[in-house]
């Protein structure tokens, strides 16, 4: 043990290897998706992965207290950006999500996904233990979640809004609020879904309806889901082989390098590739939950579990969408889908969880030395 220097043993090798496996696989799929070319997607994605991994490693060395202290200010900042988007943001694809900063397109709603976890966790960490079963434990959290949720929803970006709400509510659940609250509100939500449905935009309503019966419109709005299922289904157990996918290479699969990258992968690598990928993600989540269980203080626990769940939501919503179990909402698959914003967000989450892991280890060592 002593032969290897301590910084190296503490380096999160296992997680990095896992991420490298997922992202490497993703790069391979993007290479194939571009028709066997590293441009334009695979190379960019690889470079981004390296940069964002570096960023995550830097984040992991930042003391946890900093995250705790800056949770609310960061939350405020992102909230202001969301309002700015509403006022001056560019319209893309029927919704207002972007601020053009000149050198890059900024999508503040993306940052809200991890920040909401930090903010709600911070709130429960500050809340005195005895207060947890009072009204005062609930409404501030609901406000913290509700404001960005509604701002994102009116953009409109149903997928991101759902993830913000889900991330926040997960932290509330982990913070120890009474279980019956969740069951009760779950039932309430089920009751108001039909009402909410009528508030959706036409294209969203259509997406939901078509999600329920994609075959009803295979050439129109159900096209995405139909083609995605064809790609996955025709892959079989072992897939059609690397670079041999017809759905993706002949352009039948829309968004084959972004939201529907999993279908591109499944066509060429089959169920085997899918099991590998889902298994890798489950290992990542196990690591995240494990970090949260080991973490000594409440804030760290909530943040680690909350951020893990945020990554989980990315994966779950995206996979359900491509397999025809959820409507088409633009949620990318982490490390696989081409795009900088989502990778940045997920790497932020990973970096913070690594920071928690690191501080937990140091604390236990310190304790160990003194004991």
């Amino acid at each position: 043990m002593n032969i290897v220097p301590e910084p190296l043993t503490h380096f999160p090798w296992k997680v990095l290897a896992l991420l490298l496996a997922i992202a490497g696989f993703g790069t391979l799929v993007l290479y194939s998706s571009a028709g066997g070319s590293i441009t334009p997607w695979a190379i960019n994605q690889a470079v981004r992965f390296v940069i964002f991994t570096g960023m995550a490693l830097v984040l992991s060395r930042i003391p946890l207290e900093i995250f705790a202290r800056f949770a609310f200010p960061a939350y405020g900042l992102v909230l202001v950006s969301l309002v700015l988007v509403e006022l001056i943001g560019g319209v893309a694809g029927g919704s207002q999500r972007w601020i053009n900063l000149g050198f890059m397109q900024l999508q503040p709603s993306e940052f809200m996904k991890p920040i909401i976890v930090l903010a709600v966790a911070r709130f429960y960490a500050l809340l005195p233990v005895g207060e947890i079963r009072r009204w005062s434990a609930i409404w501030p959290a609901l406000v913290l979640i509700g404001v960005p949720w509604s701002l994102v929803l009116v953009q409109p970006d149903l997928g991101t809004a759902t993830m913000i709400a889900a991330g926040g509510v997960t932290v509330m659940f982990l913070a120890g609020l009474p279980l019956r609250l969740f069951i009760g509100s779950g039932l309430t939500v089920a009751a108001i879904i039909p009402i909410a449905f009528s508030f959706l935009h036409d294209y969203q309503q259509k997406r939901v309806l078509i999600f329920l019966d994609p075959e009803s419109d295979p050439l129109g709005a159900g096209y995405h889901i139909s083609q995605s299922k064809i790609a996955i289904g025709s892959g079989g157990l072992w897939g059609k082989g690397f670079l041999k996918g017809t759905q993706s290479h002949l352009d039948y699969l829309p968004e084959g390098h972004t939201d529907f990258v999993f279908a591109t992968m499944a066509e060429e690598w089959g169920l085997a590739g899918g099991i590998f990928l889902i298994g890798a993600f489950l290992l990542l989540f196990r690591w995240g939950i494990g970090v949260s269980l080991r973490a000594p203080d409440k804030y760290a626990r909530l943040v680690a579990a909350g951020l893990t769940t945020t990554i989980f939501f990315y994966v779950a919503i995206n996979l359900m969408m491509v397999m025809g179990l959820a409507p088409v909402v633009g949620i990318p698959l982490p490390f696989m889908s081409y795009g900088g914003s989502s990778m940045l967000t997920v790497m932020l989450c990973i970096g913070i969880i690594m920071a928690i892991d690191r501080s937990t280890r140091r604390a236990s060592q310190r304790r160990g030395n003194w004991a």
Partner: protein, 680 residues
Amino acid sequence: MKLPRFKRKTVNEAALSFTFTRRAMVVGGLQAGFGAMLVGRMGWISIAENEKYNLLSESNRVNLTLVPPRRGWILDRYGKPLANNRTDFRVDLIPDRVTDPDHTIGSLAELLSLSPDDVERIRTELEKSAGFRPVQVAEKLTYNQFAAVSVRLPDLPGVAPSQGFSRYYPAGASVGQLLGYVGAASAKEYEERKNPLLITPGFKVGKEGLEKTFDLELTGKPGAKRVEVTARGKVVRELTTRPDTPGNSITLTIDAGLQEYAGRRLGTESGSCIVLDCHTGEILCMASMPAYDPNNFSDGISHDEWNMLSNDERHPLINKSLNALYPPGSTFKPMVAMALQSAGIDPKERVHCPGGYRLGNRFFRCLGRHGSVDMHRAIAKSCNTYFYTMGNRVGIDVIARMGHAMGFGEKFDLPVLSQSYGTMPDTAWKMRRYDQKWTASDTLNASIGQGYVVVNPLQLAVMAGRIASGRNIQPRLVKGRYPQAAPMPFPKEHFDAVRNGMWEVVNGDGTAGRSRLDVPGVQMGGKTGTAQVRRIAGSQRGQSGDWKYRDHGLFVCFAPTSNPRYAASVVIEHGMGGSKAAAPVAKDVLTFLFDPAKAMERLIELEKGWGGPPAERMARQMAAFSLAKAIKKPTTSASSAEAANATAGNASSPAPAQNSSSRPADDDAPSPSPNPAGSR
């Protein structure tokens, strides 16, 4: 609401930590569960439903285009093609891939010199059939036009030049009525058959005649061209292509040479000529003229040509051999003579002909004063008085019975679209039809093949064949093994009496003495007929005046008389007389069977007088028709004259069998003779 209750429960840091641990485990468990569910779902799609999605993926990837099958050939009895397929070049448009329809159609119109009508049609079809189904631009292109389009393909997205087959009838118009023609399937035909092949460009179905009755056999199995395409319809590569299976060929009993000869020999007349093998019933030729050239139909007929054909009083669109009915006139008499004998009349019995027959206060005229005639002489001289007298004696029902036995009023088992079977009247028929009693004068008229009697030319030929062979032959069009026809249930002497009379008609002192066969050792027996078109009124005797009121000329015959082999019928509409118009045609056609060279020589001689071979005459007629139309409508004169020239050029080209050396000098001037409006 219930919240105040919670205060009672003591909450401390340790309990909360425990809650967190438990709930984090729950979250982790849920995540694992979700992962398992996703794997399960993916397994369901990719393993259980793999087959379904594989199929869908293939149908995405592979675009299947039908390759129209080559149509089966129609062969004559010696294996010579009456209808075959010629390679042709065509150009289609794939609507999906056309980026700039106006530019594309414009360029094509220029390259292929399309008419404004065609451009309009392509435009509307392109709008209607948005998709991958090709729209026909033009077919039967020359190689140069085809090449001109092919080299410009990079600038013309969506244009698909291809090589296909089109129907070709080497004999042209002479087989028009018999074979019919082919054309693109109509919407109604597609509704009936629901076969996607029918709407494949370049695919033709039989529209008339044998092409229609044998359509299913002639149609082969389509081939398929498989190409890998992208979602935008771009062809990535060609996959395996299944070749088409050509349709079955059909061998007819027709003798192509004889059929063409007969068609040409009818010349400028309107009529029919049928030759049968009188032992087997095989139809050796069945010509009906004037006819359309089926080659012109198979690539779509011009509006002008269609108008000309349908307005022609000589009805080129009707198969006169089967679908025209004529009073048989005196050609009926051999059958009546058989009937008389079957009723016990002795052929030796004599009847005095004073130039007619008195029935009550009416006098039925004969063609002359024949004096005392027996059956033999009555047939030879076509004496009406004899048949009036004897017919009246035996009664109509005896004649009708024999008439049916000889084929009159009967429909034959032939693969044709329709047969008009005419009328063989009897007492019951008149009662049924007119609710009137049959009268003696009806019998008299029927005895000489007038009155209610109407027959088609094929029935006349069958009668001639049955009398010549004494066998109950059935006409056949398709070559095959048929059992020998049974002998007819009448004594040989009866047949001999009639045959001898018919021999006399041609070779003795008879009505067709001028039409003796000029072939050593072969003699022909026959019977002329002149059928009134309308009642003789005043000075109009059916021998002059308007063409359409003149008498029909008919002739039935068989040869050789020593051992009959062939039987024939010739009908010349408004030809004024059987001996004058019909018998010479029969003579030449039968001569062709025994001495083709001699017959051909005579035909070429005749055609010089008519203004050249039929294709040339038709072309000139078409040009004259278009010109007349252009003069009537001066506004469109320029384009019509152009069309007329173009049609004239087209019509003369697909007739390689014609002898072009006999082209007359006045080729450029519209000749009045074949013009339907002209007087003869």
